[in-house]
Structure formats: structure tokens, C-alpha cells
């Protein structure tokens, strides 16, 4: 694999910058060999070839002070830094940089759990802390607290929350339950937000806003600073927890399911966000595709129906949970059960009703009480390793869910992929999760996946359903769909970028935000320069 350099940089000058970076973090924490050391910094799961986004080097900083020193060098040499914490976020680009030649700033070594406060129920962590790490720490200490994790438990609290990620307990909207951010700006200055800005503050992680503008959101999915610490509220372990599953026989039941769930969720009768999972999704996390269908064409409907029987699941499967005391659940469970069983053919399952080897029940039951696991990652097996996720946001209604479901189905069918999907019934809005699984080693599948992705994004935007996240390849495309008021939002982001990062060194291109002066012909040209 050829070696890449930061955009427009003379190799000899870059080598001098590398020496200075080595002096900051130590030679052993600067990785340069593209054939060996940089392999873990590539994305093998997207629709582009593996060598499409190759960093020039990776630098692993271990402290705020080292980040500040790295920034001094980056400003002096105009090095574009692409920072990650746990470096997961697969389906959205994983650990890859936006353009070949960037310097990957790896923050995984910053893995301190700064504080866990059991009484006030929060934790403060660095970017390298994973869900597994915090969960294990809480278990070892015996704190009566739950975390809320993403489905693959190897993710990190800061990365997931600041990428607008979601989980499965009542604390599932991760950024809502984030409280207090420490950020290093591109000039090396350190900022703490909200009450954390006050010397001696007793409330840095238990009051979100404090005094003045609320700035934390500005550092989500952005490139205005490098987040080095953040606080997160943790859920006190409730006295009682009751997970449930309802199954439904027909695709068209989606409309009524979403109509029933809306008031139950908005009124907090169901405290977490129920997952309305299509049977195809439920089966693909526990079956080998080749056991059922050896062709690369989409699995035919009769074969899916056989899988539903084999795994005893429905066309739609609603996973949720109740939390509280035996007494409160005794009141709400009959309401939930009666409502969700009102659709003909519906079945209800409670703890103990499913077989011991039911993969979907087992991992979802764990997630809804904050126990991290990797079971859902099996869906990556389905297509052969490649997967791209999409998240159109729709209003919570049966009509909108059905429109999104049917329109996206046509796109998946057009490009010849299995339609793996679920809805997160988040309250007033629904997240329509779409999983595009494909074989990244197959050029034809990659090209079809890429075209399919672009059509999904544009069709969702046409319907008024904006994306919640985007893969690196589609960040500009998605940003371009948020374009009213003469691109007012993009222009504001541009102003902020130019003020806060005048050197344009922090994650150029993240979420479609590029530094002013970045060559237009290099946007969307991730190959950079190299030898």
C-alpha cells in the first residue's frame, strides 16, 4: 500500500513534523507503516475499497497536555487531524480518516474513568473509555447503577453520545443524558461547559445548562474542538424490571403498532424506546444466510417465512421494557399488554417465555438493562462483512412509518439487497434504522451499495425524513439536505469553523463542514497525495 501525505505537503517537511510528534507522544505511539501499523486504521466495512481512506500516520495521545502539544505542531505544519476515541462506529466509517493523508489522532489511550458518583448517579470519562470498561468497573465496585450502551458493547460513551447514538434503557438518547464537556480547541485552549466552567462548582455533571449559551451540542458530530472528558448520567438500578416482546404476523401491522406505541412512549408508560424490529432483522442476527439461501440475490419471501417459523418470530417484533417497582409495573403492564395485543394475531412474551437459546431475546433483554454484548454484530455476517446504516427520522405515526418502510423497500429491491430494518419508537419521532449488508470484497456489490446509499439519503430527504448520522462517504450529501434558508445552517457552521479553527486542522470535512479555503477539487476526493 502506498504511503500518503497530508494534502499538498512536501514529504521531507512531513518527516520533520513526524519527528516532533514522536517527541511529544513517544516513538512507540506514532504509527507509520501502511502495510502493517496503519491497517487497523482502515475501514473494511464501507462501500469503498479498503485503501480509499489511508492516514499518513496515526498519533496516539495520552493526555490533554499531549493533545495541546500535537495541536501546536499541527498548526505549524498545517496537519489535518482526524480524531477518534474508541475508533468503532462501523457502518459510518469506523476508524478511517475522511481523506487519505490525514493524521489520525487516536485517543484510545485516554481511558480514565475520572469519577463515578453513585448517589447522584453519573460518571465522568475520557474518550477511550468503552461501555465494557465502565460496565465492568461498576460491577466490580458494586454500584447500583446501570449504564446505557450501544448494541455493540465495544463502543465508547463519548464517541457514541457525540455521534447522536442511542441505547436501550430509559437513558437511551445518549446525548440527552450527557452533562458537561471538556474540549480542547484548535489553539490549544481548554474549555469546560455549563456549570463545569465555575471554579469549585459542585454541580458540573448534574445540571446541563448553567449560565449562558448552552454549547455542548456544538461539539457533537462537529469539528470545532477535541472532546477530552464528558459526564454522563447513569440510571439507578430499579427495584423491578420487566422486558417484553410482542410479535405480529403481517407487514401491514406496522401502521397500527406505531399508532399504539406513540402515546405509550410519549406519556412515559413505556420508559425506554421500544424497538419495532422486522423479522428479517431479528433472524439475521442469529442465522447463517447460507443455511437458508446460497444465492447473492435477495432472500425470497417464502424463505424468510421459513426463518420466522424456525426462530418463532413475527414479521414485526416489538421489544421493550418496564422499569420501577412491582407495584407500578402491576399497573402499567396490563395497559401495555392490552394495547399491543389488540392487533389480530399478536402474541406477548415475558421473561421465561422464550427458549434459552433465543439470541435476539437474550441480547435485547441485556441491552435494555445496560449489559453490553456483541450479539447484534452478527448481522455484519449477513452480507459478508460490509454494512452501511441509515437513520431517516420520521414523525411517530403509522402513516409516516409505513411510507418510509415502503419507499425504502423499493430502493433495496431496486439494488438487489435484503431489506433489514427496524424502527426505534423514540416518542414524538421514530428512527427508521436501515441496514445495508453487502460483501465488500465484491466490486459489483460495493458499487450497488454505494448507489443504493445515495438514493436512500435523497429519497428520505424528499420525504422530509432527515438522516441522524452519515458514513464518511455521504457526509457532504447528507449535510446538503439540510439546506433551507439559503443553506443557513451550513453557513453558520462555516462561520463557527473559521472562527474556532482558523488553521483548518480539526477533522476537515466532518459532517460536511470544511475549512474555508479547502480546495474544492479535494472535497470528495479522498485519495490525497502519496507515493
Amino acid at each position: 500500500m502506498k504511503r500518503y501525505y497530508p494534502q499538498g505537503m512536501d514529504p521531507a517537511r512531513f518527516d520533520q513534523a513526524v519527528k516532533e510528534l514522536q517527541q511529544v507522544v513517544g516513538e512507540e505511539w506514532v504509527f507509520m507503516d501502511a502495510d502493517t501499523e496503519l491497517q487497523p486504521y482502515l475501514d473494511r466495512m464501507s462501500a469503498k475499497p479498503i485503501d480509499y481512506r489511508v492516514p499518513s500516520i496515526a498519533v496516539a495521545a495520552a493526555s490533554v497536555e499531549e493533545i495541546q502539544a500535537v495541536l501546536t505542531i499541527a498548526r505549524a505544519y498545517s496537519l489535518p487531524l482526524w480524531s477518534t476515541g474508541n475508533g468503532r462506529n462501523f457502518a459510518y466509517g469506523g476508524p478511517a480518516v475522511m481523506q487519505s493523508g490525514y493524521v489520525h489522532l487516536d485517543l484510545k489511550r485516554m481511558n480514565r474513568i475520572i469519577e463515578v458518583n453513585e448517589d447522584l448517579a453519573y460518571a465522568v470519562v475520557e474518550p477511550g473509555v468503552s461501555y465494557y470498561q465502565l460496565y465492568q468497573h461498576i460491577q466490580e465496585k458494586g454500584y447500583k447503577l446501570w449504564i446505557d450502551c450501544a448494541a455493540p458493547g465495544w463502543g465508547g460513551l463519548i464517541g457514541n453520545a457525540h455521534e447522536h447514538g442511542a441505547g436501550y434503557t430509559p437513558y437511551g438518547d445518549h446525548f440527552t443524558f450527557q452533562n458537561g464537556t471538556e474540549v480542547v480547541l484548535s489553539d490549544g485552549s481548554v474549555v469546560r461547559t455549563g456549570p463545569w466552567a465555575m471554579n469549585g462548582s459542585k454541580t458540573p455533571h448534574i445540571v446541563k445548562y448553567g449560565y449562558g449559551p448552552y454549547l455542548d451540542g456544538m461539539f457533537t458530530q462537529g469539528n470545532f474542538g477535541i472532546i477530552t472528558k464528558a459526564g454522563f448520567w447513569l440510571m439507578p438500578e430499579p427495584p423491578a424490571y420487566k422486558p417484553f416482546l410482542f410479535t405480529y404476523e403481517r407487514d401491514e401491522d406496522l401502521h397500527q403498532i406505531m399508532e399504539i406505541l406513540r402515546p405509550l412512549k410519549i406519556n412515559q408508560v413505556i420508559p425506554n424506546s421500544p424497538l419495532v424490529e422486522h423479522g428479517r432483522y431479528t433472524c439475521c442476527v442469529q442465522a447463517n444466510r447460507e443455511d437458508y439461501w446460497t444465492e447473492r440475490t435477495p432472500v425470497p419471501e417464502p424463505v424468510w417465512q421459513q426463518m420466522y417459523k424456525d426462530f418463532d418470530v413475527g414479521a414485526w417484533n416489538v421489544y421493550g421494557a418496564l422499569y420501577g417497582t412491582d407495584e407500578t409495573i402491576a399497573i402499567t403492564w396490563p395497559m401495555v399488554k392490552q394495547a399491543l395485543l389488540s392487533i389480530p394475531g399478536a402474541r406477548a412474551f415475558e421473561q421465561g417465555d422464550r427458549p434459552d437459546n433465543d439470541v435476539s431475546w437474550n441480547y435485547r433483554e441485556k441491552l435494555m438493562r445496560g449489559e453490553p454484548n456483541m450479539s447484534e454484530f452478527a448481522m455484519v455476517n449477513w452480507g459478508g462483512g460490509g454494512h452501511l446504516n441509515f437513520t431517516p427520522l420520521t414523525p411517530s405515526s403509522g402513516a409516516h412509518a409505513t411510507t418510509s418502510y415502503e419507499n425504502m423497500a423499493k430502493i433495496f429491491e431496486k439494488y438487489g439487497f435484503d431489506y433489514l430494518t427496524e424502527f426505534v419508537a423514540a416518542g414524538r419521532a421514530q428512527i427508521h434504522m436501515l441496514i445495508l449488508a453487502f460483501d465488500p470484497r465484491d466490486e459489483d456489490e460495493r458499487q450497488r451499495a454505494d448507489a443504493c446509499s445515495r438514493e436512500i439519503i435523497l429519497e428520505a430527504a424528499r420525504l422530509g425524513f432527515g438522516e441522524l448520522k452519515a458514513n464518511l462517504e455521504y457526509m457532504d450529501l447528507v449535510a446538503g439536505t439540510y439546506n433551507n434558508m439559503d443553506n443557513g445552517l451550513a453557513k453558520l457552521n462555516q462561520k463557527l469553523k473559521d472562527i474556532l479553527d482558523p488553521a483548518g486542522i480539526l477533522s476537515p470535512g466532518k459532517s460536511g463542514i470544511w475549512p474555508s479555503g479547502w480546495p474544492e477539487d479535494q472535497k470528495g476526493n479522498p485519495q490525497g497525495n502519496g507515493d
Binding site: 487497523p40 447522584l120 430509559p170
Partner: protein, 131 residues
């Protein structure tokens, strides 16, 4: 219904209502003194045992039984006898280290900031050990 440990009424209210009303806000609780909280728990990566590395990074995908994606895939590709990597006699340390750094199929590579070069030998030895 699963029974869990009782907690305070205040904490339960926070859980149930998502801090939506003023009298149930957690800020009404007296803040603790700084020395009463857990501070600075550092997870070092230098001295981890093979078992610790395996438990943190490997077993959630590679443990035996349903719900483990790598075990599911290896059963399909290589057969049930080779589905679980722990203790497999046909693997070598060199092969394991190459896969950890380079990935294979659905398994992504692990960076040196997650598993250090020194730990590669430790984890390979642990996986190769019988049992």
C-alpha cells in the same frame, strides 16, 4: 418479574419520570464532598493477563454458544469443531497476531492502542492454551 435491589424513592422517581418535574430533579440532593466520590480509575494496558485481554476484547464474539457472532460465522465457514478459537490446536501464534492486527472477514483489526504489540504474544498464548 425480575426482582432487583431496592433503592431510594428519589432515585426511583428520577428513573420513572426522566427528571421531568422540579421537585424530582436530582439537583435537590445535597452534593457530596469531593473525597467521597471515586476518582481517577485508570485502566492500564501494560500488565493485563491473557485472560483479561481475552475477556475484554475477544470473548463477546468468540465464546461458545449462541449470541456470539464470530462463533456463529466460524461454525458456518469451518464447521462446529473449529467454531471456538480458544484452545484450537490448528492455530499458531503468528496467525493469531496477524488476524488481531489485520482483521478477517467480519472481524475488524485491533489498534495498538487497544491491544499493544507486547500483548499480542500474551493473547496468542492464552488462546492457544488448552481449555
Amino acid at each position: 418479574m425480575k426482582k432487583l435491589t431496592p433503592i431510594t424513592t428519589l432515585a426511583l422517581l428520577i428513573t420513572l419520570v426522566g427528571c421531568s418535574s422540579e421537585e424530582e430533579q436530582p439537583v435537590t440532593t445535597e452534593p457530596l464532598a469531593q473525597d467521597e466520590v471515586t476518582v481517577a480509575v485508570v485502566e492500564t494496558t501494560a500488565a493485563r493477563s491473557g485472560e483479561q485481554i481475552y475477556q475484554r476484547h475477544c470473548q463477546s464474539c468468540h465464546a461458545p454458544g449462541p449470541g456470539h457472532p464470530a462463533t456463529l460465522l466460524l461454525a458456518e465457514k469451518l464447521g462446529p469443531d473449529k467454531a471456538v478459537i480458544k484452545g484450537r490446536a490448528d492455530l499458531t501464534a503468528g496467525y493469531i497476531k496477524t488476524i488481531v492486527r489485520g482483521g478477517l472477514l467480519e472481524m475488524p483489526p485491533f489498534r495498538p492502542t487497544e491491544i499493544t504489540d507486547g500483548e499480542l504474544d500474551v493473547i496468542a498464548d492464552y488462546i492457544l492454551a488448552p481449555g
